[in-house]
Symmetry: C2
Subunit: 262 residues, 2 copies
Amino acid sequence: MQDGNALTVSDGEKTPGSREKGLNRVLEILDFLHTTQRAIGIGDLAKGVNAPRSTTYTLVRSLVDAGLLEMAGDGNRVYFGKKLYLYGMDYVRGNDLLRRGRQEVDHLSRETGETSELCMLQSGRYTIVHSSPGTRPFRISSATGLQIPLPWTASGRLLLAGLERVEIEAMVSDDDLVLPDGRKLRLDDFIADIAKAGVTGYCVTSGLVDAYTKCLAAPVFSAPGKVEATMCLVVPIDTTDERTSSLIGLLRDRAARLSIAG
Amino acid sequence: MQDGNALTVSDGEKTPGSREKGLNRVLEILDFLHTTQRAIGIGDLAKGVNAPRSTTYTLVRSLVDAGLLEMAGDGNRVYFGKKLYLYGMDYVRGNDLLRRGRQEVDHLSRETGETSELCMLQSGRYTIVHSSPGTRPFRISSATGLQIPLPWTASGRLLLAGLERVEIEAMVSDDDLVLPDGRKLRLDDFIADIAKAGVTGYCVTSGLVDAYTKCLAAPVFSAPGKVEATMCLVVPIDTTDERTSSLIGLLRDRAARLSIAG
DNA sequence: TACATACGTCTCTTGTAAGAGACAATCACT
DNA sequence: AGTGATTGTCTCTTACAAGAGACGTATGTA
């Protein structure tokens, strides 16, 4: 078998060079579709997850048959299927925090007119689990499920509160510390922020992800000291201090209401 | 090695006796969790899907690591995970019909006070994709994602409209024709119902799934002649003819609004 | 103290699925 | 028609995962 696999462009992957488990391929496929956020051709999908075409065809067929994926309108593209929606609804039903959190977020954004979000850690990454747009003409609506480096956000600081330094270091890559505009945060500063957020019980960041917004966040506890989620508001950066602190008060109140035994 | 075929204890399963693909096991696991609707121990899960314990442990670990499943509160039970929720939301986002359908259903049930549902074919089975409870004291709320034999429902008759007889026969098993109360429908009658529903553009069934309710349904088209979904109302069986036909009118109107180019 | 049942981890074997690649059929440009 | 890229299907090999089962531990109950 010659020196076979040659090159393997190896975009940084680890694989020593041999076969990959089908289930893992499937998980990659799902994640890939989640990032593309749209139906995609099977060929492109194979490229996207860096899997052999034949394997991809086989797996996709299984998944389509099972209803986890569906062929999209024109006929040779795939995207998520009804079954994933059903499973997702099951998750919501079985998860009090999420169910109530969604309501609170919707309510909060209607009440304040600002974009409001429910955020959680998702396998070590910051994830917007639910968001409600707000009524401003220019709203920065980040899609549900979007994953953002922890250091870029106020919520990230709260979600890590209570963790050991080593745990934090494990979760935050060097790239994560580089903001969208190129500035680089110092890890120590970030860790200091986390500690401070843990003590004060809220967190505000200004102009981190972009230059026009402030992010206000408050923790939701699943147990004393354990931050399970955060609620946050995304407001224009020139929001007055007075309004900001009033919003923070509201936010903390609502987040506390979500907390167990709150 | 010996005479091979070795009995195969075969506890009733069909398999000729050998190994099952991991991905299939996973699909069974997910389906099983969907039917149980609650967190379950890994041992029971293995029993439930009739898989070896060791295999089940391995697969569950992969799925938990990937976030498709989560360990439930007490620590040794599993249920659906956040990631499935995120994928489900992606599905909703990519699916106009579902998104608008959910709204219409919610609105319709608020407006009429009756239980309202959006239904679709899901891999050859009838599925309640979204339902909104209605305001009656005794409401028959079937869970989202519930799968019911096609012949039991009004929606089932509409969803099959336009299909060939052979296709229908393929989708309907003999068991499906037996109603919950033991009565058995004749296949020919069912097919006649389907044809009639296709022509009239709505369908009403009385006392099929249970003795106390009527089911009114109207088709949602994704293309001329192609029924993609149905909206339906579940009302008390003694609803007056007058109110029934007024509800049907409303229902057909809303369903038409959902249809493409409607 | 025994006895039974459940849990979680590990080892080893072998059936089988992941993968390479060939193939015909479209499609999209010249 | 000519060229190249892409699509869906199929075959064959072998690396590897599915599965059987043993093990140690943690329950519960007579």
